[in-house]
């Protein structure tokens, strides 16, 4: 049971982070290879608030998300001001630079943050119900957000920036909001991760984690929430059952990246989403026929 619940908790944490990245990458079309940095900010800020100021757990987790969201403005504000100032892959590289800067700063900050030794003594407060509850809330929140006006703006920006702007969408605020929300999701996931592992080390939040998150979104599909969520679960669960392939994991990821981009750039469930109306229509159709 312990083993199974570990997989489930880590999957739920991963799903929360991946949903945030799906909002940014899948819908708004901004690639980030630095979401590990936002997770690190969420994890460290919530743990430090808990340990130093004795704030309660239910408060520090959203505060971790808020801290990550606010930190994303540091990079988002200069990157998005003006007419699409930092486009495409150079935004992605800037996020990578940001997350590496965060990791190296944490690695060298010893008072309160533990530096390279890591931060210990965090109580294990992330239980399965908490992690699962947050993941479900994250999914519902992201779904509501993406069906709102803001979500439609995001999709428009992701499809064609110029056309979106001509229709009156404000590129700057749309992108900045998407980045803020996405970073806040990653921050909450990071906070839960810290309170599950009970130990934080800057090494946990390297480029590997960022590319794992991006992999889930790319494989899961653009403009989809359920696709990346399912993939996020699979990417945690499958390697556990295929332990003998552990050395091959990254090789398979790499080949899959190329194959998916060449043959199925829309991903597993691209441009499809959890659509209960279709499900109910099918049910009604069956009933009507019977």
């Amino acid at each position: 049971m312990g083993y199974l619940s570990t997989i489930c908790i880590l999957s739920c944490i991963n799903i929360t982070a991946v949903l945030g990245l799906a909002v940014l990458t899948g819908y708004t079309g901004l690639f980030s290879i630095g979401h590990a940095g936002f997770m690190a900010i969420g994890a460290y800020s919530s743990a430090v608030l808990f340990l130093e100021l004795n704030l309660p757990f239910w408060l520090v987790v959203p505060l971790g998300g808020l801290a990550a969201g606010c930190s994303s403005v540091i990079i988002g504000y200069p990157a998005f001001r003006g007419l699409g100032k930092l486009r495409g892959d150079y935004f992605a590289i800037a996020t990578l630079g940001f997350s590496e800067t965060v990791r190296l700063l944490l690695n060298n900050t010893y008072p309160h943050f533990g530096g390279a030794y890591g931060l210990t003594g965090i109580p294990p407060l992330t239980s399965l119900p908490v992690a699962a509850g947050v993941a479900v809330l994250a999914l519902l929140g992201a779904h509501n957000l993406m069906t709102s006006q803001h979500g439609k703006n995001c999709v428009a920006v992701g499809q064609d920036e110029v056309a979106a702007q001509m229709m009156g969408v404000n590129l700057f605020t749309t992108k900045l909001k998407a980045l803020f929300i996405s970073a806040a999701y990653a921050g909450v996931a990071g906070a839960l991760f810290g309170f599950y592992m009970t130990y934080l080390s800057p090494g946990n939040f390297g480029i590997g984690l960022s590319s794992d998150l991006l992999a889930a979104v790319v494989f899961g599909g653009m403009q989809s929430l359920i696709g990346p969520a399912v993939t996020a679960f699979l990417l945690v669960a499958i390697p556990e059952f295929l332990r003998f392939l552990v050395e091959w994991r990254l090789i398979i990821y790499g080949i899959l990246f190329v194959v998916v981009m060449v043959y199925r750039p829309q991903g597993l469930l691209g441009y499809r989403d959890l659509d209960f109306s279709r499900f109910w229509r099918a049910v009604h159709g069956l009933r009507g026929r019977g």
């Binding site: 079309g29 892959d89 630079g97 050395e247 190329v258």
Partner: protein, 291 residues
């Protein structure tokens, strides 16, 4: 003063390795507007080919460099035909090419890790010893690497400016579609560009391996070259050389005068600052977004 000059020499020595790779980044970016994340795979292939060529088959050093170049160019051309060409054919967004490149790099680097093991190997000694110039010691190998890099970059410049193929590459960099209409074979240009990138990264891999060690993750240094090319200006070849030398010197100065733990912190902060506030770098063209 002697200490300062000594640091300057080591800065230039590492900067010249960055420069070889940074020119590759700039060349690919100038034509295809995407960052080729697979350079680390090319570099690792180059380093391993030379290392095993010398240690297993007792190749002389020039033969080993040639062998490493052949292997790396082969990999670069395979990557271009398998991972990039199909995407270009159906006009995929540039970001898809970047992800495809990340995939190629993940696969190749981890295959190297699995096949050869992750240990650090010492490169066989090529030329030992150092020249002493008024208290400053200049490693013979460093001097050779810097000289070789210089020759390679001059040859590249001659190729681009003085040959018909070079003209085709420059035309594609200006406007790929128009160049195609005017009779430039775009697929041939792609092979030339990735071939050149292969040669540059093989040489960089060999010299980096000889300077430090040969291991599967040595390609992570390519990110420094990318930072160098961004400092110099995205897509500008002379800018890439200048930016890389500058980065190499600044990194060495920070390691020796402040602390080596802040070296990478400095490099990544400069990456973020340059991208956010000076995206056209020192010598890059200002890109104006037009409808």
């Amino acid at each position: 003063m002697v200490f300062f000059l000594q640091q300057l020499v080591s800065g230039i020595s590492i900067g010249s390795i960055y420069a070889l790779l940074a020119v590759g980044y700039a060349l690919v970016y100038s034509v295809y507007n995407f960052t080729n994340w697979a350079f680390d795979a090319f570099m690792v292939t180059g380093a391993f080919a030379a290392f095993y060529g010398i240690s297993l088959y007792a190749m002389p050093f020039p033969v080993a460099i040639a062998f490493s170049i052949v292997m790396t160019v082969a990999l670069a051309l395979v990557t271009e035909t398998v991972a990039y060409r199909p995407l270009r054919a159906h006009n995929a967004p540039r970001l898809f090419m970047m992800i495809s490149a990340m995939g190629a790099s993940l696969a190749v680097v981890n295959i190297a890790n699995l096949a050869f093991g992750g240990s650090f190997r010492k490169f066989p000694e090529i030329t030992a010893g150092a020249y002493r110039l008024g208290g400053v010691s200049v490693g013979r190998m460093d001097l050779f690497a810097a000289g070789f890099a210089c020759v390679m970059l001059c040859l590249l410049w001659l190729f681009l400016e003085r040959t018909k193929f070079g003209l085709g590459v420059r035309a594609s960099a200006l406007d790929t579609v128009t160049a195609g209409i005017m009779g430039v074979n775009n697929n041939q240009v792609a092979l030339i560009i990735f071939g050149i990138s292969g040669v540059l990264s093989a040489v960089a891999g060999v010299f980096f391996g000889a300077k430090y060690a040969v291991y599967p993750y040595l390609g992570t240094v390519t990110i420094k070259a990318m930072i160098g090319s961004i400092i110099g200006g995205i897509g500008s070849l002379p800018g890439a050389v200048l930016g890389s030398l500058l980065l190499g010197i600044l990194e060495t100065m920070i390691s020796s005068y402040i602390s080596s733990v802040y070296r990478d912190l400095f490099s990544f902060s400069i990456l973020v600052v340059m991208l956010l506030f000076f995206p056209s770098g020192l010598m890059g063209a200002k890109r104006v977004v037009k409808l």
